[in-house]
Point group: C2
DNA sequence: TCCTAGCGTGCAAACGATTGCAACCGATCG
DNA sequence: CGATCGGTTGCAATCGTTTGCACGCTAGGA
């Protein structure tokens, strides 16, 4: 900058003003300075700028698992929105571990003007700590006070699933659960139970996880239950389960129906294609950013945004014609 | 910091030294300052530190598509390695668009001490521009001079695939290609052609893309070719293609074999499970970081790291018994 | 002709840390 | 007893910007 000033025969203040389009500076000088700067290949040091200006134009994000398509797409949406607003994303992955997530948050906050916790696995206490930080925090898929909240409406989601299954005549449904630290697993269980009661459906539950392997491994337990329909924590689990059923000669859907949450792209291509709940994941990210901008603009936190998913019926659900058993 | 200094009855210099563990300071003072700092809840401003200290401890990364499991896992590996080295990741997504990638690079460089371009879609000229930047650049899955290079050994990869297929008796193979701007698609084509010639296999090619939809849409073209085996650009394309074959009554592998590159987790759960080339994607990220540290340490760029994949044979490949045709 | 706006510009102080250098201390040595 | 020295500490400059304030200049009105 000093070089530019010297070369242009002005002071650095003038260079700064010229480059930033201040209005109390003559147009000729602006043109001249711009020319000189371009010629010298000068680039303003963004870090110094942001340093001087105050809070960083960065939003820190945590996700449990980068390789999970659900989170990738949330990140896509958030990234696009944040970039449009002049912000960048600093992404951290907690590996589904609450302690690691806390460390991560603690580190990200040093470089971020805001935080987005995506499907936070934080303990209650950890979350308190995060909210006490001197930056605004938005939670995606976790409700909490004094923070922005954007979430899937699991009440509606679970109702859609169960109504679909009862419509097909199922009266006994099994839920294959997700990671214990997952808030959204808790919500899915809670809303399923409640809706099952209302619909007079028997709901059993077994533990699962978040990956295809977890679903595959749940195969025997599923068969042991006397359910005719299964709802899995997510599509990866569902697809893994479908695979076990195929390997063990159980026909889907004539012996067992399988449905799931999220509708990741690959769900349409499983065999049979998986009935699932489509949610606008990218939109989750977008809305998180919107909440953030409002808050950064000085307003209070807006009301939580709830996204209602849409049931995509595919061939993995149908009427039960036979009891499943291993052949 | 000033507050801490005042409260501790010292100068800010002393506080700085105490907190950073300088050796020319008395232990008692260190203890005292630390205590005061803790009590006041003082946290050093990392951004100011890095600003003063010089280059940012951040590595900027570009990927074409965050939702693609291949890239997610590379990011996982890179992230883990970089964090262990005290660096953070600034991630940008180009959306498979060369122009956008260039903009991205131009922005990331303002905040990064190093750049990692993952499967760069940059044009030749764009890449030159990126390499001319005042930070070290590592390319993952793209070879280039004067930069770090970490890549899959596609020569070995293509050979593994074709030898497997010829071993099963296939003499006519079709390649369903990837995005035009993808270097790795180019490499796959090049090495396949070359190996096909050596093995006396007829190789046809059609254009595809990177997603399940691209694979599904390629179905008719695949059937029109007279190939008995198909190699797809990646697993997503492969799974999409399998789905089309199923929907149209083509039996895999008895009428058509399908194999692919990458072996993403879901490949094991397609129906039939997909024969694919396993590569250590997380390791790609790790190696990229290693190259970077060497370079940042003052050395020249090390020789390119080539990772040889491993063929995972599953049920989607077998001996062709019938000519495929739509029923 | 002089005074006063008002516009354009430069000086210098910040932002929050690190660090070379000088100064100070007590102790040891000659 | 004074010089020296090692061990600590503080002063002030610095990183690359932005910006409040003061100043100078020009033009227009009285």
């Amino acid at each position: 900058m000093i070089d530019v000033a010297r070369e242009a025969g002005t002071s650095v203040s003038t260079v700064s003003r010229a480059l930033n389009g201040s209005d109390l500076i003559s147009p000729e000088v602006v043109a001249h300075v711009r020319a000189v700067a371009g010629q010298l290949g000068y680039r303003a040091d963004k870090r110094a700028q942001e340093f001087k200006l105050g809070r960083p134009l960065t939003v820190g994000v945590t996700v449990p698992d980068l390789a999970n398509p659900f989170f990738s797409e949330v990140l896509k949406g958030l990234n696009a929105a944040a970039r449009a607003g002049g912000y960048r994303l600093l992404i951290g992955e907690s590996g589904e571990d609450p302690a690691e997530e806390l460390r991560l948050v603690d580190e990200l906050v040093d470089y971020s003007g805001a935080l987005v916790l995506c499907s936070s696995r934080l303990t209650r206490a950890g979350l308190e700590k995060a909210l006490a930080l001197p930056v605004p925090v938005v939670c995606i898929n976790r409700t909490v006070k004094n923070a922005g909240v954007v979430a899937i409406d699991y009440r509606a989601a679970s109702r859609l699933l169960l109504e679909h299954l009862t419509g097909l005549g199922h009266r006994r449904v099994l839920y294959v659960g997700g990671p214990a630290s997952s808030w959204s697993d808790g919500e899915r269980r809670r809303t399923l139970r409640r809706t099952a009661r209302a619909l007079d459906v028997t709901l059993d539950e077994v533990d699962g996880g978040w990956s295809g392997n977890h679903g595959y491994d749940a195969g025997p337990a599923v068969l042991h239950s006397r359910a005719t329909a299964v709802i899995t924590f997510n599509d990866l689990v569902g697809i893994g389960l479908l695979s076990w059923m195929y390997d063990n000669g159980v026909e889907v859907p004539s012996e067992l129906s399988v449905a799931s949450y999220d509708d990741i792209p690959i769900a349409a291509y499983s065999r049979p294609p998986l009935t699932s709940l489509r949610n606008e994941r990218a939109r989750l990210g977008e809305l998180a950013w919107q909440q953030l901008t409002k808050r950064l603009g000085g307003d209070d936190w807006p009301a939580p945004d709830l996204l209602t998913p849409e049931l995509v019926v595919r061939a993995s659900t149908g009427t039960a014609r036979r009891r499943a058993r291993i052949r």
